[in-house]
Symmetry: C2
Subunit: 333 residues, 2 copies
């Protein structure tokens, strides 16, 4: 059916070995021959069969990316950026969705693991032991999760949070509320608490809730009781819930209350008013996670399971405040 290396070989009057080399190690074949082969290949519309390639042992040329929820607006730009990056480096990306269900994560991994050269696990819920077992079997990079000995991309909100605190302080705010909607080991709350205290801003924490729009709606009603003039939400979605409910309550944003989100998803840029938020650059994450995985793959080749690297690499991604219209001067009592 499809055109094979053999047909190209006979068309160019050389052996299959030479054709193979013309593609995988072009400098090992004489330039005139190479050209003849390339022409014949183009003529016949030949392109190497990835299945045969990977069977022979050359890897799959595919990176696996497993995220909790593809439909979460935070991820699509990351997926997109990683695809672009990977393609430039000769890889394909296979994205999969563990559907936020811990039980599905292992099943998802099993489904893709044989089709990829390595895996990027986002906020994995697996135990450390399981992750180490996995890392012994194939190159692994974790994001938003810390496991000693496994390459990691860490997202640091501290810069953005500090800027947010300064931003609010400069606007004269004194009392703030943080809506916590995270079940993660390292809640965003702790870091926020510290940053705000350092600037002598009072911060009450609500929750933890689920990271949903309704959480923001609900939490918004509690803000007044705390006599707070600023709200910082676990993410943009929750912040939009706050915006929504504030409008319902007749509370004006930002005149009466300022609201800050986290992630700078599309939501933040199209809300009314525009949502001030802490941006985490999707391209940066994608590029670093992808590169880190590829690095791990190429290093690991042929000696997987050689034990945990004493110093596994990690990359830290920064953040910064994107001021929009949802924050402003604190009301003068």
């Amino acid at each position: 059916m499809a055109v094979t290396i053999r047909e190209v070989a006979s068309a160019a009057g050389v052996s299959v070995s030479t054709v193979s080399r013309a593609f995988t190690a072009p400098d090992q074949v004489q330039s005139t021959t190479r050209q003849r082969i390339l022409d014949a290949a183009a003529e016949l519309g030949y392109s190497p069969n990835p299945a045969a390639r990977s069977l022979r042992g050359g890897g799959t040329g595919t990176l696996g990316l497993i995220v909790p929820d593809i439909a979460n607006p935070f991820f699509p730009p990351i997926i997109k950026a990683m695809q672009a990056r990977a393609r430039r480096l000769g890889y394909t990306v296979l994205v999969s969705d563990s559907d936020e269900r811990e039980a599905d994560e292992l099943a998802t991994i099993a489904a893709v693991s044989k089709r990829v050269d390595g895996l990027i696990l986002w906020a994995s819920t697996l135990t450390e032991n399981r992750l180490h077992e996995l890392a012994d079997q194939m190159p692994l990079v974790v994001v938003n999760r810390h496991v000693p000995g496994i390459p990691e991309v860490r997202i640091s909100l501290s810069a953005g949070i500090t800027q947010a605190a300064e931003h609010l302080k400069a606007y004269g705010h004194r009392r703030c509320v943080f809506i916590n909607a995270s079940r993660a080991e390292l809640s965003r709350g702790k870091s926020i608490q510290e940053s705000f205290e350092a600037l002598d801003l009072s911060l009450s924490e609500l929750g933890p809730y689920e990271p949903r729009f309704e959480t923001g709606v609900h939490a918004a009603t509690l803000v007044a009781a705390h006599e707070a003039t600023a709200v910082i939400a676990h993410n943009d979605l929750v912040a939009l819930g706050v915006l929504h409910q504030m409008a319902n309550l007749g509370v004006s944003v930002p005149r009466d209350v300022s609201v800050i989100g986290i992630d700078d998803t599309l939501l933040a840029s199209v809300s009314t008013p525009g949502l001030t938020t802490i941006r985490i650059d999707p391209e940066e994450i994608a590029t670093h996670a992808g590169d880190l995985l590829i690095e791990t793959i190429t290093q690991t080749t042929g000696r997987i399971g050689s034990g945990v690297d004493a110093s596994s690499p990690f990359v830290e991604i920064g953040s910064r405040l994107i001021p929009r219209a949802s924050t402003g001067p604190a009301p003068t009592h």
Copy 2:
């Protein structure tokens, strides 16, 4: 490195053929033997190597889905639903992004075509000829594009549009504006024009523009000049731009102007006010497109290129209005 069928065979004391059959045709092997094999396989942690499988000719077990833009909030739920559907049917989904650039579409297709059993092309910009060539080489399903002879999933907005027109009519609106932001062969405008005329509603068309937030912002300023009391936008994103600018202009939605979006993306459900929109069910699209492709794949096996099917199948997906808070009674002048 990985455990192969041979090791399972010797562990279970049978030949490799029998192990293979135990997995691919379980009823052809005696139940006691089968159990012994399955136990051995589980013990060793064996799972078949997809590369070897597909090299042998069994297909890749992967469906390719190419969308214009993964980051467009319309697509993630579709991708997610298709993955779920495909996994249930034993397939994996490889999603790729043509980045809205026509030149990239062919490159993207080339990159994935050897790794998949078939392709779903969303709103392809390829010529009919190219698409036919492609369909001769591999199973193909197009969505949002009509090409005679190629299996197709069609999205029909007419039901939703009719409901929208009735909805506005019931609220007493007379003059409406449609913001056209489509470069597609079949603009959404024509269908809308007809439905509104049928109900004796006047409809002015603005554009065509690009389907972006800023388009809505810009178009919103033109609405007053048309003395219209209702706006229907090309999609939710544009509608949100309208909402945004109306707020800026001090025009209240829905008191002064009603706004309707299309697609029912996440954006519509979290905007303030909640956006009335025409819903296209992502699961329905995903399921039908996936099933249609799988059907084409299994039918086509072994006889690709047998020419264009005289009657290629197509599926039509409906739509319906989701009333939210952005529409209401027309202002009493």
